[in-house]
């Protein structure tokens, strides 16, 4: 039976290629997402600077969130990633060195050092052994001396800004490394955290058993918040942001991988369904001459699975380079460190192969059900027009999908807050799309009925024929409408989710920013005393230090806390009231000194704490701090931020210093004049610049755009996939009408008349698809915009929507007309008698 099916393949190359492409591209996308997922999970980063150290000890960046009931073993503990570098106590060095097999343990320090306009990494000279970095000229650095990279000469005096202070050093040696090396005591002072190191590189004795040493080191650091890294994991110690990036990568890959699998199922099922519909006569003939329904079912399934095996193989071949390319784009956008190695091993391969085969199998089951229902008398009937389409199963599934869609709608509005409301968007789009697809023949019929009159009014005979065709072939027409609906729906929903999210975030940021001018540092921060100096500049009404980080509420139990933690902003008690828009409902901002915090009122309520109470915070660097609540403010939903003193926050960041100073001009003082005054103050401080608030909001908006761009990239991939299926289904559906076109031309139609008729039909199909797609995206967007913004309409330019529907219509019309033209090539008499 399968042999027969495969033999007939070459007589329907069009549908074969369409189905094959749908399956192959599905596998490509699933594998690419799988690869990104594995890359995120593995976080393989070959070490560069620490390459000579077979073992690297680094701070544990994982934080296990407190459980509601710590004694309940059933409750899952969520794990967050600490945002700042967790440093290690220097005391560990001796412990590690006493482990047998360890030659030496080197405490590594890394801090930004700015020379002129460029910022490089500064280290102590002892770190040189970890790469190893060798002198190409000169000698090791003594106090006040450095070893510098290419472009410098021995004896040169250079001014280096490190730890926010400019100092002059003499170049004592040269190396091939771009980094700058200081004498160890200098480095310790410049890094600003004596007694703690960023990482410890462990050099082993020749012939030492690495496994045994690793075990020994592990025991030596037990009790400290440290992890021992080997192999390709060591690179993570060099790039502390890799942990967070991997986590984001995992989320991104799972979200879009899941979407890709559902869309692939949808697309493959539609394509297979269409191909079975077009083989109705062949199937009916087989039934008439003695195939049982079961045999037809097995034939369709077997054929699909056989096809899927080859399609999946091709998909796997292309999926790895495609995933690599995607990863390259993400790295180029700065979402993941470039040093991360893309891995698509056997697990994503297995997932891609398994899911692709499963998708084909499920889709084939659906198509085969229809094939098995073929009645043998259809072989004898002249025209195969399907009228009945609504089965009980279809109805039940449609009701379930709509029910799910409505439930998500309600859940989004009722439970979700702020940006996380977007998380229901993906499933919501699919539920509505599948639900509408299931009842598409009915909707198509109604819409054709409505559109019939205007279409006939403007397009004459062509429109008359087109609407007649559309009315009598609603089932077939619905099959080509659904991909258009899906493409329009997914594209519109994803685009406007992003534009809305970006707009709302920018708005929230701008609203909160009351400063007129901002001093920002490109050298890792501004000294803590700098704020006071700024405050005394004439024309300054208020100045506040600024630092931000992410932390967790360690106690009491915080039910509203996610593994992403809370955004913490550090501000100065003296200037915060004037430089931010925060208005306290209880307490005073001026009390924000020492170990204290100002909470959003709703958050404090969740915690059951009020002004005067104390909560325990886990800061970004892993330190635990007890802070007193000194005030409450009404935070904007979804953008809640904890406020703490700037120096407290800065002390627990990797940089260790406030990053910015916010300045509010006194009444009557122009920002330009103030900027000029401040520039004078900055004369001796390379790396600090004055910027007005527009620069700041623009920079924030740019960061937001990067995040949005990544989502566009991933969604674009899936939209492109559905676009392929739009073209696929148009080509399939049109080329199957060869006989009909032939007959029509025998009756006196010119080619032009047929093409015009198909133009109107394609227009009808696009309009119906676009309307349904818009409904799908609306059902997704409305709850989201309601929650984030309180409005019904999304933010973002209207031309994006026009672009989406324009593209969808253009794809539909062009692919239909091209196929029509090709189909019209044979002489009408030949076409009319050809087997359907």
């Amino acid at each position: 039976m399968l042999r027969i099916a495969l033999r007939t393949l070459r007589f329907r190359t069009g549908t074969f290629i369409a189905t094959f492409l749908a399956m192959a591209f599905g596998a490509v996308i699933v594998l690419a997402c799988g690869g990104l997922l594995e890359t995120g999970v593995r976080t393989d980063m070959p070490p560069e600077r620490l390459a000579a150290a077979p073992l690297v000890v680094t701070g544990n960046q994982d934080y296990e969130l407190p459980k509601q009931n710590p004694d309940d073993p059933e409750e899952d503990a969520e794990t967050g990633t600490l945002a700042e570098r967790v440093r290690l106590d220097s005391g560990l060095l001796d412990k590690i060195e006493s482990v047998p097999g360890v030659a030496s343990a080197v405490g590594d320090l890394t801090f930004p050092a700015t020379v002129g306009a460029t910022t490089v990494n500064g280290h102590g000279w002892s770190s040189a052994a970890l790469t190893p970095t060798r002198l190409t000229a000169g000698h090791e650095p003594g106090p006040g001396q450095v070893v510098f990279g290419p472009g410098h000469r021995l004896g040169e005096r250079v001014t280096i800004v490190a730890g926010a202070q400019p100092r002059t050093f003499t170049v004592a040696g040269l190396s091939a490394s771009p980094d700058v090396f200081f004498a160890d005591p200098d480095a310790t002072r410049l890094a600003g955290h004596p007694g703690r190191v960023d990482a410890i590189g462990v050099l082993t004795k020749p012939g030492a058993d690495l496994g045994r040493v690793e075990q020994g080191v592990g025991q030596a650091v037990r009790g400290a918040p440290a992890v021992v890294l080997t192999g390709d994991d060591r690179g993570v110690a060099e790039h502390v942001e890799a942990g967070k990036a991997s986590e984001n990568l995992i989320i991104l890959a799972s979200v879009f991988g899941g979407l890709a699998i559902s869309v692939a199922l949808f697309v493959v099922a539609t394509t297979l369904g269409l191909s079975v519909q077009q083989r109705q006569r062949e199937l009916a003939l087989l039934r008439a001459i003695g195939s049982t329904p079961g045999q037809l079912r097995r034939m369709v399934i077997g054929e699909s699975v056989a096809m899927s095996v080859f399609a999946t193989a091709l998909g796997c071949l292309l999926g790895v380079p495609f995933g690599q390319w995607l990863f390259g784009r993400l790295a180029a956008a700065g979402m993941v460190p470039e040093q991360l190695v893309f891995r698509a091993g056997w697990i994503p391969m297995l997932v891609a192969v398994g899911s692709s085969l499963l998708i084909s199998l499920v889709a084939a089951f659906v198509a085969a059900r229809r094939a098995a229902r073929t009645r043998p008398t259809e072989a004898l009937a002249d025209a195969a027009v399907q009228r009945r389409w609504l089965s009980a199963i279809r109805l039940i599934l449609a009701v379930l999908c709509f029910g799910g869609g409505i439930a998500l709608f309600i859940v989004t509005i009722a439970v979700m807050t702020g940006p996380i409301a977007a998380s229901t968007a993906g499933p919501s789009v699919l539920l509505w799309a599948i639900g509408l697809a299931l009842i598409a023949p009915g909707i198509t019929r109604v819409m054709v009925g409505v559109l019939r009159w205007p279409v006939r009014a403007v397009s004459g005979t062509a429109g008359y024929l087109a609407t007649l065709n559309a009315r009598s072939r609603t089932v077939r027409m619905a099959a080509v409408v659904t991909p258009i609906m899906l493409a329009t729906g997914i594209a519109t929903a994803n685009i406007y989710l992003q534009t809305t999210q970006v707009a709302v975030a920018n708005q929230a940021y701008a609203e909160n920013l009351r400063a007129d001018l901002v001093l920002t540092s490109s050298t890792g921060g501004v000294p803590a005393t700098f704020v006071d100096q700024v405050r005394h500049v004439p024309g300054v009404a208020a100045a506040s230090g600024f630092a931000s980080t992410t932390g967790y509420v360690a106690a009491p139990y915080d039910g509203s806390q996610s593994e992403d933690g809370w955004l913490i902003q550090g501000v100065s008690a003296d200037g915060a009231a004037e430089t931010t828009a925060v208005k306290l409902t209880a307490g005073r901002l001026a009390d924000l000194r020492g170990d204290s915090v100002v909470l959003p009122a709703a958050h404090a309520k969740t915690l059951g704490r009020g002004v005067g109470d104390t909560i325990t915070m886990k800061m970004g660097d892993g330190a635990t701090v007890d802070v007193r609540i000194v005030g409450l403010y009404p935070g904007r939903e979804g953008f809640e931020t904890l406020l703490m003193p700037a120096d407290l926050v800065a002390a627990h960041t990797t940089a260790g210093l406030p990053t910015q100073v916010m300045v509010r001009a006194a009444p009557g003082v122009s920002t330009d004049a103030l900027a000029a005054e401040l520039t004078k103050l900055l004369a001796g401080r390379p790396g600090v610049v004055v910027a007005d608030r527009d620069v700041l909001t623009a920079a924030y908006a740019k960061d937001q755009e990067i995040g949005a761009w990544i989502n566009y990239l991933m969604a674009g991939m899936i939209v492109a996939y559905t676009a392929i299926s739009v073209v696929n289904s148009q080509v399939m559906a049109t080329s199957a009408r060869r006989r009909e076109f032939g007959l029509q031309r025998l009756t006196g139609s010119t080619r032009g008349q047929v093409v015009r008729m198909m133009f109107v039909e394609a227009g009808l199909v696009s309009v119906i698809g676009i309307v349904l797609g818009t409904i799908v995206s609306t059902t997704t967007l409305v709850p989201f915009t309601l929650v984030t913004d309180g409005s019904l309409l999304p933010h973002g330019p209207a031309w994006l929507y026009l672009g989406v529907i324009g593209t969808a219509a253009a794809l539909t019309v062009v692919s239909t007309l091209l196929t029509t033209w090709v189909t019209l090539r044979p002489r009408p008499a030949e076409a009319a008698v050809a087997p359907a």
């Binding site: 007589f11 008439a288 001459i289 003695g290 195939s291 329904p293 072989a379 004898l380």
Partner: protein, 258 residues
Amino acid sequence: MRQMNEMSADVVRLTDVRKTYGGKRNSVVALNGVSIGFGRATFTAVMGPSGSGKSTFLHCAAGLDRPTGGAVVVEDQNLAELSEVELTRLRRERIGFVFQAFNLLPALTVQENVTLPLRLAGRRAKPELVSRVIEQVGLADRRKHLPGELSGGQQQRVAIARALVTRPAVIFADEPTGALDTRTARDVLGLLRGAVDHAGQTVVMVTHDPVAASYADRVVFLADGKFVGRLAHPTAEAVAERMTHLGAWAEREPAGAR
């Protein structure tokens, strides 16, 4: 109307078969109580004007469609008692088909098309039987050709070979010469006639062509879903005369036609 039962000698017997299409409000009666039997090694032509129920009759008799009422018995097996799968099995073992058009799978060669019913039944085709059948229809030198490379008459002969290869109890032919020219049609009809005379095959053929009908042992006439007459040892002229009469008769009572 006369009963035409020749009882147990019949290969196929229809008793009071009714078939209505559509729902309650817009129902159309296609067969209105049809009873007939087809004896072994007989060649029957079923004739009637358009909409007389010829096709529906053929579909019901061949087990392609299920009647609304009455019984169809093929070789003592009542088709109503069979499940869809059992019905299909009976069809491929005991019933052969020749249709007007789209008879063959375009991707399969002549030989593969002929052996398809055997393969569907999971049986091995005996090479000498297959060769004999293909030779019988005069296509011995075309067995590796695809249907697209054959003329209409040759394609129809392949279809007859396919119908013969399972040695069915009965062959149903639906306008087998409808798409053929006179000379080719004569070849095809000769083949069917030969199958009845030499192999003892039973053939039931629906046609509207009096010449085609003249190859049959008898002709039965359908109008408005009922048998309205029969003619033994027909000649083309006699059949044509009767058909003209039937046409007029059908015009007088156009209601219920299908």
